[in-house]
Symmetry: D4
Subunit: 229 residues, 8 copies
């Protein structure tokens, strides 16, 4: 590492400083990287910070990482490789709700990241608007959370309905679940951006990681106040 | 009229036969026509069938028509000019629900057409998903109808929520209400086409007339059975 | 099953109540689910209601389901796994028309669902507008139906032509058949939404299931009157 | 005019040679030009070739041209200013069919151009697919033409149906007639490009001029054989 | 008001309960409403809750409201009509940054709403990425805020750059500022959704209100902890 | 075959009458059909008319057809299976020009169809606008043809340049050759539709067959006059 | 002006330093600004640097500026207000070519900016690909320039053809000239991005200013060598 | 080779003249060509000019070429096969910057081409806007270059930030790196086209070759002055 807070390893400039700034090291976005690159960066981050995470990791990439860092673990449904030796208790509460069972992989990407960062997670899966009573039965879970991540494909109406029921920030995650005129998740994305309810903001399609990141920052503000910044 | 069921008046071929086939004359789509053309066609249809309707009529077009057919009436919110001397009682029940107050013009286009064709209409306005309890309080109205027209802009989630609550055909009408990423109603249209609930079909953006037409056919099947075809 | 009408099996909340409400259990949408999840849900629904259906099932998913529920059957062209021990006669009549032979898989998805739900189906395949006489020769079949499902790819003109010939609700199903500027079915979808004929509503691309659902509701209204709701 | 066949008048390079090559001078596309520019070019072309045409001319532009070339005439429905002192008889036959009355302005742009170039035109208006019998009644007109221009908005199905009935080149012209999901004519354009019938080619939305140009070339080949090239 | 928390005034169902739930009454979205409807709703909300806000109000609509509620004020740059008799001090801090001066109207919509709800606002205008030093000079302002609203048109890069510099939730607001390939704000919207920085979520194009709403919820969590929910 | 001119073989209605009407039997579009269906239809058409053609045939489909009709031949670059026992000489001349070598498969689909129908073909490959002199050197070939098919991907400028040089109908075929912002051929398609030159009409992306069909009709008009209709 | 090189005037942060860095002051983008803001910024820049330019200025904005800075001049066709007291000779040569006369306003925006910055401009208007000889006749002009700006609407083929003829950087400017499937200039933009010729880069639709900026930098590199940076 | 400067080898017309005109032979675009065609063209170019380059070459294509021209070399990360016996020193300096490590393949395509043409390259990888200090630390590299190629995916903000920091032509290359709403690189492309900074022009998505070509022309102008044209 140079004195500028990042290490230049030729094909990448690793931001080791982030742990100091944010309490957790830079997260590797696995998609589009070679297995060798991902593994090498993972190893350097782990050695520097006692923790490392790689998202969007294929099985093959996971194997390449684990062969270099045997203590790391692969959580297949979330496509995440993780090594975590930073001990912290889980604080606050973020609720992750999904419209259907096919949205679970995206939800789990968010859940694993939130827990790695130190936020407590409560899962509320398969509560989509086609059977609204399944959601209504769980108002307590929604209302006791500091932030809600609403994950849905198809028409993506879940965040609107939730935001109409509570006064808590809702992070909407459109998923690519669906076919035809869902346009790979664009239909859900547009629906969420046009939400008629207040208190909804949106991240990219299938971006569980981004939602978790934003939700963790909000949850920490609730738990620790402005001091968490 | 020729013996083929339509009259050739040079710039148009008027389908007078439709009244015999469907019990109601051809409806004029005013948009894109000159006031003179619209008025001339209106007069010929009225003379031939005792009733006439022109949708998407501007104030100016309405005046042109009424100056030719003084018995006709302009219903401004629905942008419809109508003359109706066919006496029939209203039968069955079609519910028209809207997400917000801005969707009312489209809803009224549907309502006026349904009543002109002979279907009873019940209005349920401003029951969008951002305040779901306003909809839940009116389950009786929904359940006592033979067909529901659900009109909504923005994310267009209303038809999904309604279809999840009842077992009645829902005709979804996306409206151009909204801005930015609503893309002139495309967001609502895509949402409705991707509905995760069963029993939803969709018409063009702002197409209250088309929804009314389909709903009337369905309502008549319920009232009169297969004999209504 | 809890007293709220649905069973929570961890990754899913199964709506067993639907059979009571609609006479037929919830249908599983296989795409995007793991084979294990699909099979487990299929088994629970079958045990609870004497019938179960999974659409968009790959061969592999079909095998997983049948190994758990050996009485189930795989209808490959429709990609449906079905077990049906609810005895009912087929009533009314829904006509399913296709533009070409490549639209048949979507049409068969609709046909299998309609028959499972209890509607009589009549098939009219390969009657697209490039050879309009093939359609004109079959006006009797069209006119004797309570509802028509018109399935077409490419320019998707079939529903318009049919709706211009009859006064019966037409459910239009665009298919992804075609290439280039058909944009995976968007061309046909847009064509159908802009139909110049009355009495057409539209479902998502390749959504035979959705069309069947809507058509069944309409057919039952014709057969049983408002009492079918 | 320089010896290269075109005249450089500063803001434009006028292709006077075209008359020698094609028997008719360059046609001015009025849209986007200032009235002054359009009038000046019109005058130079007229002086050089005894004929001149300006399409997409607003009323204001027409007045500017006529004040400079008083012999010119404005055909408002076609938005064309024309001066024609080239005497030729009209030969062959091109049929121009429209789906509805709102498509007439585009059809008339084509008709005026065809007649100016020397092709005989037969008009067949308001024969859209929602009332297919109006088209079927006129098979003789279609079959006696060397080329058919099919003009339609909304779903744009007219060219497919015509091309399925005859073995004559069909030039399809999508119009911007419609609303919502017609996307300013894109729906009709896509429909025509995906025509399932043989012998259809397509020009830009509302491009009556382009269709007329192509149809005239084809008509002349039929009338004069390869010698017309 | 009925005992369900909302008042049914025929064309609208006003959610008076919201003040109790959220400390501030329902905000009227003026666009698409008639001046009469907007004014009537404004009056009812004001009478019920001592405060009322109407966004997207034209000058004409503002006059209609103020003639009915003379105590109300029109803030033209933000297009907001406001009456506010609820006394509260401003707490916490939300920073509103803009890329350029043309983004100010959207930023002011957010600022007025935040202050009406009780959040302290700090403005940082014209700090776009084409002159990155203007942003770097103001790190203190960014770091002392609980939430940052980043408003930008054109390529919409401001939120990414800010989020890379701080560990605070960033709400990104794309604006329709730009031309050509900005597609009315879609370019900025897509850029923000694809942000390579962590901690960014996005609202609809020009949606200053939505961003303010989300930012206020977050700011209150920081100020009051989970108790603010 | 029934007395209506087509044979109903269950999954398809084969239009045997076309040979009588057009001198050549219906052409099978192979894409989206099963090998079995394609082979069965091929056999029936061949038996009925002494010729048969299947386009978009994969190697596997070609083998299925040839095992049923051993006299058929597979032209791999054009993806066409053909059996042709109708003896006719090749007449007239259609020029097929391509922008690059990657456009050749589409060009060959057109060439094979044209020759099967009886039109003489002259090939002018790799004459794209990036090296305009290669085109200019071949003006004789262009000018001696009755119709020109211009095949190009990327920006699709070839048809405009050709149409500016000759007074012969140009059928433009956009290809999917390219990457990124070519959007699978949409860029070339849009370019061709917006051609600033006269006498260009366009078919679907990669649609060599459609272009050949239209070109053959035009070529026959030139060779035989109106009598060819 | 603060010691950071920019002046904070409340609603804007003016980058006075740019003149020192680039030899010419910051250019005001008029669109979307109020006349008052534009005039105030213009005055401050002029006072600070002896020159000022505002692009995309309406007539009304021009009057507001000139009433504050009477020495300024309005060049209407280019929509530019300019005051220039920096004396420099024009150096090098940039050629600006247009496809048609309707592209001239965009070309003139580029020309005025280039001359203000100190580059010599040579205009070559109305040389589009529909009459390729008009371009070929002017090879000398093209070849004697250090950089070519090619401005074209419709299919946007001009830059490709030019780049195929010379070895000089070509900056392509798509214009919104056209209609229908030109999609407001998107067709030309896509065509230029997909250019099959080497040495073409592209700016936003109608962005004459951006092209001039890039061309000036390139021209100065040719005139002054690396020292111009 | 004919006396027109290109060689006609049947399926292609090879532009051997380019080396004389530009100092380097025509570059083969491998994608979409068969391995045989690519290899044959490579061999002919190499024999004629002592150098040859094929871009977008798969491993399989590389093997086909090398088996024909064993002296050629495959640079896998850039997907380029190259044979270069033209001796020239590297002159000037072009900087290639990337946003992340996943953009490296596109950057290397540009780098290899630039060096083959004779431009000196300096690489600055992984300096995206999410960690702006990594870029700021390298201002010297940026400022000492004659041209900067900025390669970035996701929101594509890198070129804007760089162009705001220097007065050097910036060629922006959007990459397809990202997912969901990045639309295969369209988001980055739109962002770059809408850059609020001056001196940015853009090439197609992933088009490292095009950027290198343009950058080389600019670099040579700086090194050799106008004489390099």
């Amino acid at each position: 590492m140079n004195n500028k807070g990042y290490e230049d390893i030729g094909f990448a400039k690793i931001d080791h400083d982030r742990q100091k700034r944010q309490g957790y090291p830079e997260v590797i976005f696995g998609a589009g990287k070679t297995c060798e690159h991902a593994a090498a960066i993972f190893k350097r981050i782990k050695e520097n910070g006692n923790a490392a995470v790689c998202t969007r990791a294929s099985k093959e990439m996971a194997e390449a990482i684990i062969s270099l860092v045997p203590e790391a673990e692969y959580i297949e449904i979330a496509k995440i490789v993780i090594y975590n030796d930073i001990k912290k208790g889980l604080e606050g509460q973020v609720c992750i709700a999904t419209g259907g069972t096919s949205d679970i992989p995206v939800a789990e990407e968010a859940a694993v990241i939130l827990e790695a960062f130190g936020s407590k997670v409560i899962r509320l899966y398969d509560v989509g608007v086609a059977g609204i009573h399944r959601l209504m039965d769980n108002m307590d879970i929604l209302r006791s959370s500091n932030c809600i991540i609403a994950v849905a494909g198809m028409e993506g109406a879940l965040p609107s309905v939730i935001a109409g029921l509570v006064s808590i920030p809702v992070i909407a995650v459109p998923t690519s679940v669906g076919y035809g005129a869902n346009l790979g998740g664009i239909a859900a994305l547009l629906g969420m951006l046009n939400s008629c309810a207040s208190g909804v903001s949106v991240v990219n399609i299938d971006n569980g990681f981004g939602a978790a990141n934003q939700a963790h920052l909000i949850n920490m503000l609730a738990v620790k106040g402005s001091g968490s910044r």
